[in-house]
Symmetry: C2
C-alpha cells in the first residue's frame, strides 16, 4: 500500500435524537473549543466505520446507539483546520445508556434540530443534510 | 492532528453504466491482478471524494462522469489485503469521453450488472448494494 503519510484522515460524526432534541457536545479542546459539535472522532485502524461512530457517541455522550442510515460524506479539504479529514456521517437510534459527557466533550447540549446554533466544522451543513432525509 | 500513521486509508469506487452494462476494469497489478474490479483508487490529500471518484473513473476508463448518488461506505478491515482501506462508493452518470483503458487498468469489460463474475475486493457486495438502490 502507498505511504500512509500525506493522505486524508477518516472520521465519523453521529446524529442522535434524544427526547426530540439533537444531541450535541460542547468541545473541550481545539479546534473550535467551546463550540457545539456533533459527537464524533477519528476512525481507528482495523475498526469498521459503523463501529467507530457507535464508539464515539458512547465515549462522548454515554448513549448506546445503533446505525440507522448513512447521511453523507463530507470531504471539503478546508472543513477541518488541522488538515484534510473526510467525515462519514450516520443517523443513529438510541438503544440504551444515560446521557453523560465524557472524553473530549465538556458538556452535552440537546438542541432544536430545526434551529441549531452555529456549530463547529461544517456540522450545520451536516444537520441540514440530515434534516432533508 | 494525530499522527497520520496507523490509520485507515480512504478510497473511492465508481459504478458507471455504459450501453446498459456496468463498466469494470481488469486489474493490471496486485492485489487481485487479472480480476475484474470497479474503477477506483485512493483519495489524494486536498481532494474532495466526489472529485476523486470522477478522476479515477477518467484515468481508468476514459469516461467523463458526474456523481449521481452515494451508494455506501465499505470499511471491513479485511476487505483489502494491503491494509485497512475505507471505500466510499458512488453511482455516476456518463457525460462525455470514450472508453479506453488507462493507468492501472489492463482492459475494460462491460458486464451484466445482474450477473457479475467474481470481482476483486468486496466489489460484488458493492454491486449488490448498488442494485438494491
Amino acid at each position: 500500500m502507498p505511504s500512509d503519510r500525506g493522505h486524508p484522515r477518516v472520521a465519523v460524526d453521529g446524529l442522535v435524537v434524544h427526547a426530540d432534541k439533537l444531541v450535541t457536545v460542547r468541545r473541550g479542546h481545539d479546534p473550535f473549543r467551546g463550540m457545539l459539535a456533533l459527537p464524533g472522532g477519528f476512525v481507528e485502524l482495523g475498526e469498521p466505520v459503523e463501529a467507530a461512530v457507535v464508539r464515539e457517541v458512547r465515549e462522548e455522550t454515554g448513549l448506546e446507539t445503533r446505525v440507522v442510515r448513512l447521511v453523507g460524506v463530507f470531504s471539503d479539504p478546508m472543513r477541518d483546520p488541522r488538515g484534510h479529514v473526510v467525515s462519514i456521517t450516520y443517523a443513529l437510534a438510541e438503544t440504551a445508556g444515560v446521557l453523560i459527557a465524557g472524553s473530549d466533550a465538556a458538556e452535552i447540549l440537546l438542541i432544536d434540530p430545526e434551529a441549531p446554533p452555529p456549530m463547529a466544522f461544517d456540522h450545520n451543513e451536516i444537520v441540514r443534510r440530515w434534516r432533508r432525509g
